[in-house]
Symmetry: C2
Subunit: 228 residues, 2 copies
DNA sequence: GCTGCTTTTAATCAGGCGATTAATTAAGGA
DNA sequence: TCCTTAATTAATCGCCTGATTAAAAGCAGC
């Protein structure tokens, strides 16, 4: 009964500490184990909360999952839009600047331990690689809008790039960013002991340079006809 | 008792039809739902086999999962090595040819409905984005070896590319290929009705061109020092 | 210090899970 | 034909899951 009033009141929700603790814990557990692998009990234990609180505040495991994504996605996409507006205001719109604007909020969040670190990025990784209805619903609900914006921007700034190419380039950018930010230990395994340093600007710069060159290559002649 | 003799005999295993049917079904269900989301019952139903057969032949759900990956990974990596040897024999080793060699077996498998289509690629997508012990074990057991080979080849063929850059480039190549081959419906959502055609050579060529340009950009000056 | 509300708790539920079992059928060698 | 072994089945086990509930514990306003 009181649940509806708690999850989403009209004025100022003022989410309590317990709810935030549950969201933080859920982010970690969902990131580690995926939706099905995560259990509400494990989330409750990590949040040091009673298991029933999850259903009291969020209604269901699925609703909690969406709440985890909604919390971060809103902040990330707001930051993207703000940076994009700033970019247009200064007039210095380049492909590299666009990609930096697209990737910086996510990667920077992933490097910030005080805001959950890479846990959310791992959740996103699961959602992005999932083909189930839930993953599809979540990605389209929270990321399709911003995707269309950036796809249009990319198509406009790169000469000769088709909309198809812009879509592909955008998806590749996201794939690269997620593989960069949701470390699976693969880099360490393959680097023969030489650990890659994890400086934010270096990671971001590398990803931007890689994707920018890739997108420009998609616009180069030989893109459409079969030039094996 | 007899199980050990069935799963991996010494001479010629000669896997029966039932086992193949289970593997095919498991590939589909694991691909659709991930490891935790899949149930042995759903796999058995799809394979039109009794649920107990899974444990009789494979011992556990987890062992079945590994068997699914082992079956395809072996074939894919054998093909990669053969193509690589052929490439060196003809002497025409370019970055594009290397990437084609790396990606073609996977993408071509993913486009072949008679060999499971994109289902295995979706399984790989889950494993690649997973941070759990099982995903890590599977990827390192079946893909680290071939990864080292191609990383060394890439580092050797691209002037000025560090080993770090080669590792990053390789991982980006895999990320792009998986996002390309494990379609989540995202492309259709973002393409405004203009469906991207799915010609194999065009998909493969686009991915190769994208990744090759990206890798070369990683080797360009400004890669190591902070050139924001 | 009541009273009415929200928050939190412990206990419990029905259902689905992976796994196991014992019994049945099929196949092959002596 | 008989007997051993492999393949297959239906039935069931104990466990863990998400979810529910009724009661207890705070905590305002009066």
């Amino acid at each position: 009964m009181a649940r509806l009033a708690v999850t989403r009141p009209e004025g100022a929700p003022e989410r309590g500490e317990a709810q935030e603790a549950i969201l933080d814990a859920a982010e970690i557990v969902f990131g580690e184990s995926g939706f099905h692998g995560a259990t509400t009990r494990a989330i409750a234990v990590r949040a040091q909360a009673n298991a029933a609180l999850i259903h009291y505040y969020f209604g269901s495991k699925e609703a909690l999952y969406e709440a985890v994504i909604a919390r971060r996605a809103g902040a990330i996409n707001d930051e993207r839009r703000a940076r994009l507006a700033e970019l247009h205001a200064t007039g210095a719109v380049t492909l590299e600047a666009l990609l930096d604007t697209l990737l910086r909020p996510t990667i920077s969040l992933g490097r910030d331990p005080s805001r959950g670190g890479a846990h959310y990025t791992r959740v996103l990784g699961h959602a992005a690689s999932g083909t189930d209805e839930r993953s599809h619903r979540v990605t389209s609900a929270y990321y399709d809008g911003i995707a269309r914006v950036f796809i249009a921007e990319i198509a406009a700034i790169v000469p000769g790039l088709s909309r198809e190419g812009a879509v592909r380039g955008y998806l590749n950018a996201i794939a690269v960013a997620i593989s960069l930010m949701a470390p699976t230990g693969r880099v360490q395994d393959l680097s023969d002991g030489t650990l890659a340093d994890d400086d934010l600007e270096e990671m971001l710069g590398g990803a931007v340079r890689f994707v920018a060159a890739g997108i420009r290559a998609l616009a180069a002649p030989g893109s459409k006809p079969g030039a094996a």
